[in-house]
């Protein structure tokens, strides 16, 4: 005759079940996470999720451009390095690209279209600026990319990939949107990897997420 388990054994079984469930859950997420990391070395772009909640843009430095036009565009002056928070624009779009990446090459005309769309609108051109960071690229390689595609906004090399690592970028191109507040604080509101091909939708998404009012987009 089968005996009924004692009540404390039943509780023990339930506890064991919960622990097992948590372990399975952790193990499963571990698999997904490691796959994401291992495939990060592969050049075709994959879409990453935008960050949840409010997070700050990591403050990185880049060389002050030599061109007066680019200095004026970013609102920076002098020589040496400047911080990203010194860029005089409420909203900044950062494209992390790589000269060698075919997806970045294909995106280049569209990113130029995006720049022109913004610059062509008096209500937006002082509110949104774009810069490009060349992951693993030398100055020579960045210049080659800039000249090849007639890139209209400032590009900066990130030969040791330190900026890209700070920003958490592992595939190219990746587009990041951030607010730069007057008090020097920042809010990163957009982070997405993959080719850019629909400029209208991209700009609309940036405007919505940046909280720019609808009348600003007209």
């Amino acid at each position: 005759m089968m005996s009924r388990p004692r009540p404390d054994n039943r509780i023990l079984n339930i506890h064991r079940g919960i622990v097992l469930f948590i372990l399975i859950l952790l193990f499963s997420f571990g698999c997904v996470s490691s796959e994401t990391k291992s495939s990060s070395n592969i050049y075709p772009a994959k879409v990453a999720s935008p960050p949840e909640g409010k997070i700050s843009l990591p403050v990185f430095e880049f060389p002050v451009p030599q061109s007066e036009g680019e200095k004026n565009y970013l609102g920076v002056s002098g020589a040496g390095n400047c911080k990203v928070t010194q860029i005089n624009s409420p909203v900044l779009i950062i494209e992390i690209f790589n000269m060698y990446c075919p997806h970045c090459q294909r995106s280049a005309p569209f990113v130029n279209d995006l720049f022109q769309s913004i610059q062509g609108r008096t209500d937006l051109k002082q509110k949104i600026k774009i810069i490009g960071i060349g992951i693993g690229n030398s100055s020579y390689e960045v210049d080659l990319f800039k000249n090849k595609y007639g890139i209209l906004f400032p590009l900066f090399p990130d030969q040791d990939s330190s900026i890209s690592k700070m920003l958490g970028v592992s595939s190219t191109p990746t587009f990041i949107g951030a607010k730069i507040n007057r008090d020097g604080t920042t809010e990163q509101f957009y982070f997405k990897a993959g080719e850019l091909s629909d400029v209208t939708n991209f700009l609309s998404e940036i405007l919505n997420l940046a909280g720019l009012k609808q009348e600003d987009t007209q």
Binding site: G17, F21, I24, V32, P44, P102, Q105, E141, L144, Q159
Partner: protein, 206 residues
Amino acid sequence: MIKGKYVLSLWFFSVLMLLLETSNVYAQSSSFKDNIYPVGKLKPRDSVLTLKVGDRAPDFTLPAVEGGKITLSQYRGKKNVVISFVPAAWTPVCSDQWPGYNIAQDLFVKNDAILLGITVDNIPTLYSWTKQMCNPGEKLWFTVLSDFYPHGEVASKYGVLRSNGVSERALFVIDKNGFIRYIDVHDINQRPPLDGLATALEKLNQ
């Protein structure tokens, strides 16, 4: 009680299968989309270079992806030649090195140079691999050669065949007289910056 245990086991099994299925689908879809075989970190160099700057470049004839055969000496007296050996198709660093060269044609043209890309892969593999480097309807501006059979013979002649049968990631610049003017057998895990090659090409005309 047996029924309770059965239900509990079934619930855990279902959750387990659901989670495993989710992670498999993610992994499968990710790797299928990427198409690139992850090779991991390799021994930076695994061959002994037998040539040096100033040596005459060993001649060779290899089949080209676009058809026909290319002989190195056909460029003698006409063009400087850059040879880019890359280890293998569908591997991480190789898959973005040549797309970079594909937008650097001006650098080669202004230095009166042509580029020959060589791997130990066969022609069909090179055809599909190089095709995905370009926009639809376009092709690489430079010639890609297959050192597949006899396997790695040219890589071996140049001292850049690794023990596992792939070549090093190596650049050779050969002048119009057929002499080697620059060699960079690079760490196989890293892409050689274009700066070094650009400087070497500009020196050819000095």
